[in-house]
């Protein structure tokens, strides 16, 4: 009969635990991604206005 595998230690079940430095860098990365996405949304909005010009208000219902 095959023996059962040993039970996993408790710390493995907690997953990867980041150090304070890793947490700080992850937060910085998240802020950078959010900033870039926000700027991209603003850029698309402004370019849309620029390309449509006065026609931006021309929306017959």
């Amino acid at each position: 009969m095959t023996p059962l595998p040993p039970e996993k230690p408790a710390e493995d079940e907690e997953g990867v635990v980041l150090t304070p430095e890793q947490l700080r860098r992850r937060r910085a990365r998240n802020i950078a991604i959010a900033t870039v996405l926000g700027c991209l949304a603003i850029l698309f909005y402004v370019v849309t206005i620029v390309k449509l010009g006065p026609n931006v208000l021309n929306r017959p219902l």
Partner: protein
């Protein structure tokens, strides 16, 4: 001299694949992957293409085009670092890059580079025009696949053909502004294209050991320093009149003609000095002077073109003085 035909696996000098510490990369590490110094030169030459192009481009669209070209160049830089991570770890000049130092993983770099490349091409194509988007896509493909993956490790002409990648930005910018390509942007392209070999070979002359250790077949490694010096002189002899030609053809003004002639004379003098001084510290200092001045040379040429365009076209348009 090293055998340049040796194929290199993606491992570091000790035979290990560079490993990044999980989750340690910060925004600054990702910015470093974009090669900000190369990016600044790309932005500058592209700006010259944009400003000199005929027609009135809306400033927001011009900014968008410049942003996309810059991000595309950065994506190329990141993908180049991903591909060259094995030799970057060996060469002194590149050993502190994010992948060899383990700050960013190779997978993160690949994903980052591909995402930015796709975004920059699609945004330029959709928001500005399709020709500019296609040219930017070709530039990224040329730099990453043709230069980095194929030519760099296989031929001493790597920098000659690969130099085209660095020469494309003003052409892409011109296409962004006009939707076409004409003689003037092709001349701007040619100036950077023929400037690249003497510029990089001057650097390679005093970094030959570094390139040999990494197995990169730069000209001083494969053909020797004397042949490299001869090639630097020949390319400079071709470059100097080429750089003056926009003034002769009436595409640039008299100020540009004077600057291109004076700076060309200095560059030619330095190339002759590199050709003559072949031994010891004098040879190294001649190569360093050539490398240093070649950067200033290209900067002055494009700064003068930019200045002329600003004075003769942009300023009158902004102030209304040219309307009369």
């Amino acid at each position: 001299m090293s055998d340049v035909s040796v194929s290199l696996s993606k491992t570091d000098a000790a035979g290990r694949a560079p490993q990044a510490a999980e989750g340690l990369a910060g925004p600054a590490d990702f910015i470093e992957l974009l090669k900000p110094r190369v990016m600044s030169l790309v932005i500058f030459t592209a700006l010259v293409g944009l400003v000199r192009a005929p027609g009135d481009m809306h400033p927001v669209l011009a900014f968008t085009a410049l942003l996309c070209i810059a991000v595309g160049a950065g994506a190329s830089g990141a993908l180049n670092m991903w591909w060259d991570r094995d030799i970057d770890a060996i060469m002194t000049r590149t050993a502190r890059r994010p992948i060899p130092t383990g700050r960013v993983s190779a997978e993160e770099t690949l994903a980052f580079g591909l995402t930015l490349a796709a975004f920059s091409v699609v945004v330029l194509g959709l928001l500005v025009n399709e020709l500019a988007g296609a040219l930017l896509a070709f530039t990224i493909f040329f730099y990453v696949v043709i230069y980095s993956m194929w030519l760099k490790r296989s031929t001493p002409q790597n920098i000659v053909i690969g130099g085209a990648a660095g020469a494309f930005p003003p052409l892409v910018a011109w296409a962004a502004a006009t939707g076409t390509v004409s003689l003037e942007p092709v001349l701007l392209f040619s100036i950077i294209f023929f400037w690249t070999p003497p510029h990089f070979w001057a650097l390679a002359l005093y970094r030959a050991d570094d390139y040999a250790r990494a197995g990169v077949p730069m000209l001083p490694v494969t053909a020797g320093p004397d042949e490299t010096r001869r090639q630097i002189l020949l390319y400079t002899l071709f470059l100097v009149p080429l750089a003056i030609s926009p003034a002769v053809l009436g595409l640039a003004g008299i100020v540009y003609g004077v600057v291109a002639t004076a700076c060309g004379a200095v560059l030619l003098h330095l190339a002759v000095r590199v050709y003559r001084r072949r031994e010891g510290a004098a040879a190294v200092s001649a190569a360093k002077a050539m490398f240093g001045f070649s950067i200033l040379y290209l900067f002055l040429l494009f700064a003068t073109l930019l200045g002329e365009a600003l004075v003769t076209r942009v300023l009158p348009a902004v102030t209304g003085l040219g309307a009369a």
